[in-house]
Each structure stands twice: as structure tokens, then as C-alpha cells.
């Protein structure tokens, strides 16, 4: 007579040291192997899309800060790109270069944090986090020089940026960019060839390319699966058409590939920032627009390649001072589509690391 067993249901709950925010997973385990998952989210829902209908176009920028609160400049940029598309205006040259540079700095900061916490989930007790946060501190110092805040910036405005870069920005940035490749080498030396890391992350959590494309995955997750798709290359916005850079593409789509892709993207971001610094033209930093914007009636969808994927805003305007509808296509929310396919069949420790390597931010998921 066979032994009757039943799977054990564990609630990896909203408060957990490694769910990257308030995210709840009800998992059915058979021993250590995952059999079924049921994600529950919505704990951080603040009604951003509805609130955006009550605010004017410039006030919505403060709302977008809070979506992916760890990479707020990208959110601001995505929204401003969408509004500019709606209004049919273009930012001046200098503003484009400033925006590109700031977006790439934000990409480095976001990847530093993602890598740090991915390695913490793997068990490297706080060491990579401390090293990476030291560099992130310097980037946040730079942002504080530019706009006065460290996390919720509201720096970009429709038609440019809020204020031009202060004079102390460039020297600090030059020092930072010159020593950043050495720091990235240090992170690589610490963990890239580490046997324990490799055995733990290679061939774990494989996402095949066709499944990723069918599931609308974007960002480093898609690039690690082998698809060379990056919005900065396929439809250049801002100043990306004028700088030379490459996009790293993985082959297998496992945790190790995602880790490597994010490391390499940091290097490419350093390259872009260097070129922006050299090529920056003088000029106005903002288009002269009235304080209350009244775009024409119509709709527009504008998106950028944020650190976590494609972040887009779909704006419908009826000619008034507030958007009629503001829909947010958030990268983390769409990237969670394939969670079940990626998690079932792996062990409990792998569950945590696969979820960590997806780099999900609950502010974006719940909006």
C-alpha cells in the first residue's frame, strides 16, 4: 500500500526578509520541491493611476517617483517622454544629454541594488551589499547635487529637466566614472567565478526565449534569455542614437545569465555616461512651457528602457489640465507573468533566488 502524502502549504508571507517588498506567495511544497504557487500582491496599491486623473500634468511627476521607488529618475523620464509625445514637442539638445546621463546613472544604481540583494538571497552575508551600496551612495550624492533629494527626485519636467546641472556636478561625476570600472572589477572578482555561486545559479530557473517573448517579458530578463531586444537600440529616444554602446545578451536564460547581464550593463552604462559628458552641448535645459499644460485631445504611448524593463505610460487627454486616463505599463508587473513556469519544479532555496534574479519592485507591481 502506497503511503498517502500531501503537499505542505507554506505562506512565504508579506513580511519576509527577501521578498523585495510586500509580496505574498502561497507555495505547495512536496518535501523541498515546489509544486504549485499562488502569488498574492496588492499590498502596496496606492491608486496611482486614479490619483493621476486628479492632478495636473506636472504634479503627476511627483506620483511617478513612487512607482519604482528605487529607480525614480527612469519613471520620471518615461512619463515626460509620454507627455512630450502627446504634445508633440521635443526637448532641447542639452536636456536630452542630461536626461540620458541621469537615466544611465540611475540604471547603475538600480542594478547595484538588484545585484546586492540577489547575492544576499544567495547567502553571501551582506558583503556584496555593503560594497555596492557604497557606490550607490556616491550616485545618490550626485543626484542630490542635481535636484536636492535622494530618492524621490521629481527632476524631469515636460520638455526638459527642472534645473541645469550645478557646477560641482561634473568634477564629482568625473571622479566617480573614473573609479567605477575598478569597482565593477572588484564585484566580478568577488563572485563571478566563485564555484559555490556557479553551482547554485547555473541552469537554475531557465526561461526559454520563445516563452519569454510570448509572455511579454522585457529588460535584462529577456536579454539573458537570448533575445537581443533593447528599446535604446531598436527605437532610440533622447540621445541614445548618438552614443555608441552595446547590449549584452545571454544564451541560456538562467540565474547566472541574468546576474552576468546586469553586471555587463553597468559597464556599458559607464561607457554611455563618458560619451555624454564629452558630447554635452551648451544650451537651454528646458522648453519654455506654461505652468498648466493643456495638451491637444488624443492619446499617446511613450516608453523607455528602464533598469527593470520597458516602462511605459499611456496617456489619454481631453484637453484639460489633468490627464483623462493615465495607464502605466510597469515592467515588474508584466515580468511576473511567468512566475509559475519559472518556479515550479525547483527547490525552496531556488525559489528565493529565482525571484531575486527577476528583480521585481513591488512599488511598480502594485502601483
Amino acid at each position: 500500500m502506497a503511503l498517502k502524502t500531501e503537499p505542505i502549504i507554506v505562506n512565504i508571507g508579506p513580511q519576509h526578509p527577501s521578498t523585495h517588498g510586500v509580496f505574498r506567495l502561497r507555495v505547495a511544497f512536496d518535501g523541498e520541491v515546489v509544486q504549485d504557487i499562488e502569488p498574492v500582491f496588492g499590498y502596496l496599491h496606492r491608486g496611482s493611476e486614479k490619483l493621476a486623473e486628479e492632478r495636473t500634468y506636472t504634479q503627476v511627476i511627483t506620483l511617478t517617483d513612487r512607482l519604482d521607488y528605487l529607480a525614480a529618475m527612469s519613471n520620471n523620464l518615461a512619463y515626460c517622454v509620454a507627455v512630450e509625445k502627446l504634445m508633440g514637442i521635443e526637448a532641447p539638445e542639452r536636456a536630452k544629454y542630461i536626461r540620458t546621463m541621469i537615466a544611465e546613472l540611475q540604471r547603475i544604481a538600480s542594478h547595484l541594488m538588484a545585484q546586492g540583494f540577489f547575492l544576499q538571497d544567495l547567502g553571501a552575508f551582506a558583503t556584496p551589499i555593503m560594497y555596492m551600496f557604497r557606490e550607490r551612495e556616491k550616485i545618490l550624492d550626485l543626484f542630490e547635487m542635481a535636484c536636492g533629494a535622494r530618492i524621490t527626485y521629481s527632476y524631469m519636467r515636460v520638455g526638459g529637466v527642472n534645473a541645469d546641472l550645478p557646477p560641482e556636478f561634473m568634477p564629482y561625476l568625473t571622479t566617480f566614472i573614473n573609479e567605477m570600472p575598478a569597482h565593477i572589477d572588484e564585484y566580478e572578482g568577488l563572485l563571478r567565478e566563485n564555484e559555490i555561486l556557479i553551482t547554485r545559479t547555473k541552469n537554475v530557473g531557465i526561461l526559454p526565449a520563445d516563452l519569454a517573448i510570448n509572455g511579454s517579458i522585457t529588460g535584462p530578463v529577456l536579454r539573458a534569455s537570448g533575445v537581443a531586444w533593447d528599446l535604446r537600440k531598436s527605437d532610440p529616444y533622447e540621445a541614445y542614437g548618438k552614443v555608441k554602446f552595446e547590449i549584452p545578451v545571454g544564451s541560456v536564460g538562467d540565474n547566472y545569465d541574468r546576474f552576468l547581464v546586469r553586471l555587463e550593463e553597468m559597464r556599458q552604462s559607464v561607457r554611455i555616461i563618458k560619451q555624454c559628458m564629452e558630447q554635452m552641448p551648451p544650451g537651454p535645459h528646458r522648453v519654455d512651457l506654461p505652468m498648466l499644460l493643456r495638451p491637444r485631445k488624443g492619446d499617446a504611448y511613450g516608453s523607455i528602457e528602464g533598469p527593470k524593463g520597458e516602462l511605459g505610460f499611456y496617456l489619454v487627454s481631453d484637453g484639460g489640465v489633468s490627464p483623462y486616463r493615465c495607464a502605466i505599463r510597469s515592467s515588474s508587473y508584466i515580468n511576473l507573468n511567468l512566475l509559475k513556469e519559472m518556479l515550479v519544479g525547483w527547490k525552496m532555496q531556488d525559489l528565493i533566488t529565482i525571484f531575486g534574479s527577476l528583480d521585481v519592485n513591488m512599488g511598480e507591481v502594485d502601483r
Binding site: S18, V227, S234, P248, S251, L260
Partner: protein, 426 residues
Amino acid sequence: MEHLATGCQPPGFFDGMNQWEEWVLNFFPRFGDSLCRSMGGASPGGFPDWAIFLILGIAGALIVVNIAALGVPYVVLLERKLLGRFHNRIGPNRVGIFGLAQPLADALKLMTKEDVTPSAADKLMHALAPLVFAIPVVLMFAPIPWADHAVMADLDIGILYIVAVTTAAEVGVFMAGWASNNKYSLFGAMRAVGMLVTYEVPLVLSIGAVALLAGTLNLSDIVRNQEYVPNLLFQPLGFLIFMIAVSAELNRAPFDLLEADSELVSGFHTEYSGMKWALIQLGEYAAIIGFSAIISTLFLSGWKGPVFLPGYIWIFLKMGFIISGFIWIRATLPRMRVDQIMAFGWKFLLPLAFINLFVTAAEVIAFPDGLPEWLIPVNIGVAFAAVIGFAKLMGFKAQTRKLTFSGDYVPPGEAVNGVRTVARGG
């Protein structure tokens, strides 16, 4: 012949020693001797033998248990500060200079914390588990020699006793995990039993190799056998295996899946707070101190060292070195997965431990009266060859990967890896 109680040294033991040698280098035997003689152990009158034995035993036990009890908070402080230095930051430094009063603050906090027991938990087992975990660990300190004649219990089966006693502590882990009525703790406890039992085997085999070299299981004799050359040089492979097996026994990184902070919020001690948690902490860190003492005794020649420092200082220095090594490993390495740990233990460490045992046995048979020094490079070579050769044989290859780079601008309408790019507009 005078009747001497145990604890008194034979007469003439301290002849020919100057003050320094008598009172500092041989502090513990001298202290025990004066205590014993003051109670009349060397003369026919005075206290009966069993009373002297009892009193001296309690005095010795107090000293040894305090090494564990006072050492633990300071090892916790050392870990926090040293980890901080590895992380490019300072550890605790607010309470007292260099944070030296931090353990006092921690102890006060733990004593005043509320003791929470889950309502559906098995109360008796929940209360007993920290005791079952901590007490065998403190018992482990008995046969360790701290100086030349300063050993609490000179057991002839010293090292075997230590292995047996530390294995008993694993029952406490499982009791704690089961009695908490918490699925996370249960996960931790289940993983624990498998891992701890697995890594006992290479541990015992490498101890067997050292015992072969010394010819005895008595720890004091093993130390005396390492005249000029510590066993580390004769047994590099054994040292490596022992360090790895001890890391697994202590639940330290990279084997700390019992208390994996990021996965199972504290594993088997999730539901403990206050003094019970302090007892579990005591058991864990006292095991670290104890095993460092054992490693120093077996491989680094214990209390032997140049005479300008007494023996017990030398063994403390060596213990500090090994403990710092454990902290260094924790700061650098990520965790391993359960099935990988088991595979590593059974398929890699166990054959290596056997190889080590056979090579040592062959050497001891070939040179029955002491191994010559030229065997040291031979042994180091054998160690390298065994590790690398065995890994190659079993196919354990961990290779890093290269990424491809794509840099071209893809015009709208073209396909990239089967994905057609579209022009975006309006």
C-alpha cells in the same frame, strides 16, 4: 610514599623553576596544588579525598565553563566588528570604547526580553530544546589541554568523547525545530539532521588520521607528540577536510542553511526569544570556540609555543586565529543548496578523507618512529593532487560563462532573434 589526593602534584614537581615558570607558565597545576595541600591532601589528616576531588573539580569546572560563557559574548562582538571591517564599515562602537561593553548591553537586553512561546507549540520540548542544544557543547570543553598539565579531565579517549558529545547536540536542533509548530522551523530542522549526520563522517575520519600519527586518542599526548612540527604541515589534506566538516557541524557559512536569514527567517530558532534564544546562541558560539580549540590542539600544536608566553595564551591566540578564519569564510562565501551540500559531503569529502587516512597509515607504517621532515612537501603535493585529481575525475567543473554583445542599430521592420522590430509612432 605520601598519600596524595588527586589534584596535588607529586613533591619535587616544582623544583628548579623560578618564579615566572612556577606561577605564570604553570599557573593551573600550581594553583591546584596549593589548593589541594591547603585542604590537607598531602597529609594524612584534613579533608577526605572525595571532598578534595569534588572541590577542585568544581573550581576547574567554573574556570572552564566561564571560558565558554564569557567567551561567547566576546566572540559575538568579534564577529560583528570583524565582519564590519570586511564590509568596509565599523562594527558596534557606541557602547564603550570599541564597543567592548556591547556584550553587556546584549546580555541585559536578552534577560529583560519577554519569553514568548507559541500557543500551539509543544511546551515541554520547546523549553527543553535550548538546554539539550547548549549543555553538550559546554561539556565538550573538558578534555582540552590549556597548558602543560592543565587539563580538566585527562581522558584517554579524549577526542572520541568530544565527537560523541557534540553529536548529542544535534538532537536539540531537531527538538527546537519540531516543537515550534512553525513550518519554517520544520524546514530548518529537517535539513539540519541530514547535513549534520553527513558531515560527522569526514570529521571522524580526519581525526582518525591525526590519532594514527600520535598513536593515541588522548589530547594532551597528541599535543606533546607535535614536538617541532605542527600536524598541519604533515596533514594539509586532513586540515582542509576537518575545517570544512567543522564549518558544517557549526552551521556556519557556507553551510548555514539552518538559519538561512534570507530564506527561512532564522530557521529552527525563529520562535525563540529572550533567554532561550540566548542559550541557543551560547550553544552555537561555544561550539565555535570549542571546535577552534580542538583544531588548535589537533593541528596547530595546542599550547606549545616559544616560552616567552604561557601556554594558555598561546592556545587562545591560535583559537582567535581560527575563529577569525571562520568569520572570514562567512563574509566571503554564499550558501550552498541542501542537495549540493549532501552531494559534496558524500561524494567529495568522504573519498578524500579515506585517501588521507590511507596515506597517513602508509606513512606511519613506513616510519614507525616519527615521520621525517621531508615528508611535508610530499604530503602537500599529495593533498593538491588528491583534491584536483578527484574533482577532475568526478567532473566537478564550475566554469564561468561569456556573454555575446550586440551593438548594431536595428532598423524598424528587421528581425532580431526572430522578433520583428516595429516603428513606434503616434
